[in-house]
């Protein structure tokens, strides 16, 4: 009986939704509701990108570390959320910093306690914005883990999450998005080629330099060995998950449904990703004589990373060019890092670093006056009569942000190295981090713990 009446009420509410709000007095504007919904969908999509990172990192590494690599991402996303809630968000977007301080860092809103619904003048509820921003911070952190893969101690992940999500990432987010000094300069980074990707990649670079290459990566004569990931299907699925999630990342960064501009952003995003995938496969085929799947997958991601800064500022043809160049760049960048003996199992430095720089720079060339006016940040690029001004702003933004992210990460990790050490022992590394850090293999039926018999 109760069930039936509930069903009836539910059906009525669906038919006459205004009935439900009738008693609440002032209804919020319908555009606020749509914006809120869109930002929440986007936040969910960006959070789902963690599924991509889990599969990407696990697929690109070896079986003996699979459980660790996959599971630690869930842990760090959790920890990152708490830290970002407690302090990170406040440093990025806190409104109480004085004029002088605000150029460098935000202040306020620590242990964020938002209003339960949007006010009459809000474009969307602050909660939705928080969840969306948090998902970005978590992406940047997961990018950084690429440089730690298969050899860092679990405790290092814990410590670095605190510093990165609490301070390093929020500072850069503040500079460009939170009204900091680069925002005032008109730096164009629509969805975070620099803020999210370059920052993560620089942390990865600092980590991999301090950690040194994995055992067996390089021979005595300096030649490299190929340490193949254990599952290319995981890696491919990861790229698709990230690709789809990227629509939340880029198109969601409009933060508004408005006139449907988010659709244009999604459109250029797709073109950029496509260009990256195609160019990467072709260049590896032409140069190496074999079409490399790993390079192709990284090419798609590089296209996405590059178009992230420019998706709202460029015309369709330019989006294709940006993607194509990102695909070429990632191939040569991977070869370069391998040559200088930087062991980067997930190619984080190439995919998120090199392509992140390229994407940021691309605005300085391709930003159109019409789109710049629409977004309301910066000026047109070199190819659209904007001269070198915007290009220079873009260069400054990636140089400064990159340098800061690298230096800060390096100092933090260097101190950790001196105090407790970054890397597991040689024996633990050979045995696998699944066993050394967690006590069980992720593939227990394939890999046997020493001293046990099969069941």
């Amino acid at each position: 009986m109760i069930k039936k009446s509930l069903l009836a009420i539910g059906a009525l509410l669906l038919l006459f939704p205004t009935m439900a709000f009738a008693a609440d007095g002032e209804p919020p504007s319908s555009s606020m509701g749509l914006n809120a919904l869109w930002v929440m969908i986007a936040a969910i999509l960006v959070l789902l990108m963690q599924g991509g990172f889990i599969l990407l990192e696990t697929g690109s590494t070896r079986m003996k570390n699979a459980g660790h690599v996959a599971g630690k991402t869930i842990f760090t996303v959790g920890l990152c959320s708490l830290v970002y809630w407690a302090v990170g968000y406040g440093f990025a977007f806190g409104p109480n910093a004085g004029d002088g301080l605000n150029a460098f860092i935000g202040f306020g809103d620590f242990f964020f306690n938002p209003a339960i619904a949007a006010g009459p003048d809000d474009a969307y509820p602050a909660t939705n914005f928080f969840v969306f921003q948090l998902a970005f911070a978590a992406v940047s952190l997961s990018i950084a883990w690429g440089g730690f893969a298969e050899r860092a101690k679990l405790s290092v992940y814990l410590i670095f999450t605190f510093i990165f999500a609490g301070l390093i990432y929020p500072i850069i987010a503040h500079w460009i998005w939170g009204g900091g000094w680069l925002a005032e300069d008109g730096a164009q980074d629509f969805a975070g080629s620099t803020v999210v990707h370059l920052t993560g990649a620089m942390a990865a670079l600092a980590a991999t330099i301090l950690l040194k290459p994995r055992i067996g990566k390089y021979n005595k004569d300096g030649s490299a060995n190929e340490i193949l990931g254990h599952n290319q299907v995981f890696t491919s699925l990861a790229v698709l998950l990230l690709w789809v999630g990227w629509f939340g990342f880029n198109a969601g960064s409009t933060l508004a449904v408005g006139d449907g501009f988010f659709g244009y952003v999604a459109f250029t995003t797709q073109l950029g990703a496509a260009g990256g995938a195609v160019a990467a496969l072709l260049i590896s085929w032409l140069v190496k004589g074999k079409a490399d799947i790993g390079v192709t997958l990284n090419g798609a991601l590089a296209g996405l990373v590059a178009i992230t800064a420019s998706c709202a500022f460029v015309e369709p043809w330019a989006a294709v060019v940006i993607g194509l160049i990102a695909g070429l760049l990632v191939f040569f960048s991977m070869a370069f890092f391998e040559k200088i003996r930087v062991d980067d199992p997930i190619a984080a430095m190439s995919v998120h670093g090199a392509a992140g720089i390229w994407g940021t720079l691309a605005n300085g060339f391709f930003a159109t006056p019409e789109l710049v006016e629409k977004v309301g940040v910066g000026k047109a690029g070199l190819f659209y009569g904007g001269g070198f001004e915007q290009l220079w702003v873009q260069i400054v933004s990636f140089v400064v942000c990159g340098a800061f992210a690298f230096a800060a990460s390096f100092v933090v990790l260097w101190i950790v190295k001196q105090v407790i050490g970054l890397r597991v022992t040689e024996e633990q590394e050979i045995l696998g981090l699944d066993l050394s850090e967690h006590g069980n293999y992720g593939y227990p039926e394939v890999l046997k713990k020493p001293g046990t018999t099969s069941v």
Binding site: S223, E226, L286, G289
Partner: protein, 359 residues
Amino acid sequence: MSSLHRQERLLDIAGAGNPEELRKLREEEQNRLASVLSSSPVIQVIEELNELHDAVIVRILELAEIELARSGFGKPPVPYAYLLFGSGGRSEQTMSSDQDSGIVYGVPENGAEAERCCRYFRSLGRLVVERLVETGYPPCEGNVIASNPDWCLSIADWEQKLDGWFNEPSWEHVRYLLIVADGRFVYGDAELAARWKQRFYRDVLHQPVIAQRMMENTLRHKVLIGVFGQLLTESYGESAGSLDIKYGAYIPMVNVFRLLAVQAGIRETSTFGRIRALREAGKLAEQEAQEASEAFALFLRLRLMSMTKIENGQWVGTGKLPVKQLSHEWIKPLKKALRLGRKLQRQLEKGIRDRFGGR
């Protein structure tokens, strides 16, 4: 080197009494050839080297016959021919070649005789292979070797086997046919070997489509030069930066001329010989033949250069050459030769596709 020295050495080998002596003679002669490699035409070095290998193998066979007779097996019950396959068949052995070989023997008169022949030649095959191992020739990894009963058959069985391979050209069978195409008589009854080879060519003529299957079987070894004219070297591991001369230059060239020769009914087994015969048959222009010979000579030279001697006098080689060790004047002709190899490979592919259709 003077021909006098060559004659003397061949006489020494012919008079050697055991594998150790032969091994010593072989090592001395190989050392001498290695020292003159850089200053002599590679065709000549390869020719002398293979003359040396042939002489050693022939002497081992003679000694094995004697050894078998002493242990009560008697003389060979019927005539037989000892065949070399692979690089030995093509007279292109290096300092560290392994054994690829087979035996074909005459038709026994009756069942009892057949069993005796089978026993004798299997024993001979085993003994020869063992003695050659002692002389420093490792056995063939693919088991194409006289001690394997599959490769030690009477001519009648061989003919049946060849027909079977032609009638059912599976990947494995076509691989065997490619091996047979390089088969060369080295000792025993030459007429028997000729009859054996004749059957192969008769069947090829009846089944021209076999050429397509042969081509498909060899296509996986591409010439290692990229579209930008870059050398496609190894990216990873101990041989990173090395060019796989054996499988990325030498073998593709061997495959091209083997196929062209087989199609033209040419029975030469050495690649130089095949190129020469193709030119004489009008299948290759003078200029093409000249360029192909030069390219192949370069590959052979580089292949010999990729070998090194280890402590116990054994030569080892992966067939991979570090490109950095190549001086500048080598790179240009190498790229030119590789481009030619690629062109020939594509021409052949296209020709066969046009004739038999794609797959």
